[in-house]
Amino acid sequence: MQEAREYAESIVETVRQPLLVLDADLRVISANRCFYQTFKVRPEETSGQLLYDLSNRQWDIPKLRELLEEIIPENAAFDDYEMEHEFETIGRRIMHLNARRIYRETNETQMILLAIEDVSERKRAEEKLKDHSERLEEMVKERTKELRDAQEQLVRKEKLAVLGQLAGGVGHELRNPLGVISNSVYYLKMIHPDADKKILDYLETISSEVNRSTEIVSDLLNFSRTKPAAKERIEVSELIVQVLKRHSPSEKVEVTTQVASDLPLVFVDARQIGQVLDNLVTNAYQVMPEGGKLAIKAKAEEDKVLVSFMDTGCGISQENMRKLFEPLFTTKARGMGLGLAVSKNLVEASGGSIEVESEEGKGSTFTVILPTKVVQE
């Protein structure tokens, strides 16, 4: 009997987890060293005490009562019962409780063996791990997006470079024959001013098609940005006036301009930026075939001048928004999809940038941001 008791106690003492042995009234019969150390309880005030009374009633925990008074009487054993409690002495702890009801035949009494595993550290580590893995996931996502963006940028640049070379070569070579055709038509029109109307019409057609081809070639060449920006200080209002002079809208489009009176001069390539504004105005007219409003505004912001073109056209879908400035992207039936790509290049060559906001079905606003600072190159 004595031997068995010593055997049991030595097991309890050896286990490196807090252990309590309680009698049927939940008084402590014995506790192991680990229990005392972990929960900073003194052995002399433990034995024979009601568990709930231990350490100034710190152990009077509702969940513990639930386990000992409701679950154990019914189940005889229970594993991994999680309990969280704020101890006055040792702070917040998360514990896993394992309890066994043991029947002692010798004196026909019951005992409860209660193992209290302190999992606070583990829980904290788990939380941390979870946090880390979430952060990691986010970082991976971010990095992936960066990589994808970089790749898209690279593809765009590559596309630009190849297209640029091709454009340079083909465009220039085309200008020679176009030049000869245009001279020839000029000659024919000149020496036959009284020719048949049909003939004159056809000559006119050739003329205008040559002009169109020349424009396409110019777009291609601008696109390959063969000409460096020749920057000068100019008035934005003058640029806008010139652009509107070149593009008379259909009667259906109502154009309003609102240019701040005290705008500083911008420092850009007048011809190239003029061409960008041309493009934006042309696009605006084209997205409003049934009519609408085009509001052109210019204002100063820090050392920049912002020129915006707001149309009431069909707007741009999210999907198309991403590809908007990509070369060869177009939604038009006729057109190479170079206009905005060229515009972006030209604006950037002058040290500016171009932005767009759009709502599908309501319209778009393109804003050209031009520098005012004079930069010597």
């Binding site: 030049g179 000869v180 001279n183 020496i191 063969t226």
Partner: protein, 255 residues
């Protein structure tokens, strides 16, 4: 200019040269075509041309090299480049050499024709100096070189006597009744663009007035007595600049 304008067109693309040739001939100019730089140079050496219109990119001798060679023979000859290549280094080189303009193919024929019309115009000069001897001697030299010359010794109301364009004013800086600067300002009010060359015998005394005059866009100031060659060169520069303007070339001040 009473004689017909003689234009030399140079392009290794024969069709380009020939179509231009046909157009110019119909318009009443004496045009000739050359299909290489070497051929063009021979023609310049033989005959007197009033202008050369040349392609930039040609095999063997390019347009800029041709222009350099032409300047050895006839330095004041107005040369215009045409090119299909908008990003060529040759363009910059050509303009730095003093070409009037670089035109991009296909050419705007109307622009070229208005250039030729401007080139055909008699060059007229108004000499404003209270010294009649100066007026007469300079006037005679210029008349002998084909200029239409007006001599003005009493500058009062001068601005009203000028035409709207096509003239160069030679203006003395010192008068008894008024100053050259005052006259210049009067001219500028009516004709902001008319080229004015200042002349004076009083370099130190007039220094301030000259500086002020250059600010109101006097083209240059020459100090008496000056070399006629120097004077003629300034006139050529002004002429070329005005012709360049017709071709849409932005003003480049070279002096």
């Amino acid at each position: 200019m009473s004689e017909k304008l003689r234009i030399l067109i140079v392009d290794d693309d024969r069709r380009m040269a020939n179509t231009l040739l046909d157009i110019f001939k119909v318009k009443g100019y004496l045009a000739e075509a050359a299909y290489s730089g070497a051929e063009a140079l021979e023609k310049v050496e033989e005959g007197h041309f009033h202008s050369v219109l040349t392609d930039l990119k040609m095999p063997e001798m390019n347009g800029v090299d041709l222009y350099r060679a032409i300047k050895e023979i006839q330095p004041e000859l107005p040369v215009v480049f045409m090119t299909a290549y908008s990003a060529d280094d040759l363009i910059k080189e050509g303009l730095e050499e003093g070409a009037l303009a670089v035109l991009t193919k296909p050419l705007e024929i109307d622009l070229l024709l208005s250039f030729l019309a401007a080139l055909s115009k008699e060059r007229s000069i108004v000499i404003v100096d209270d010294d009649p001897q100066f007026c007469k001697t300079l006037g005679d030299i210029l008349r002998a070189r084909g200029f239409a010359v007006t001599e003005v010794t009493y500058p009062a109301g001068l601005a009203n006597k000028l035409g709207p364009d096509g003239q160069v004013v030679v203006l003395d800086m010192k008068f008894n009744s008024t100053s050259g600067l005052a006259i210049l300002k009067e001219i500028r009010e009516q004709y902001p663009q008319v080229p004015v060359i200042l002349v004076t015998g009083y370099r130190e005394e007039m220094a301030q007035a000259i500086e002020a005059a250059l600010k109101v866009k006097a083209y240059a100031c020459l100090y008496k007595p000056f070399q006629i060659e120097e004077f003629l060169q300034v006139l050529t520069e002004i002429h070329h600049r005005e012709l360049g303007k017709v071709l849409g070339q932005f003003t480049r001040k070279r002096r």
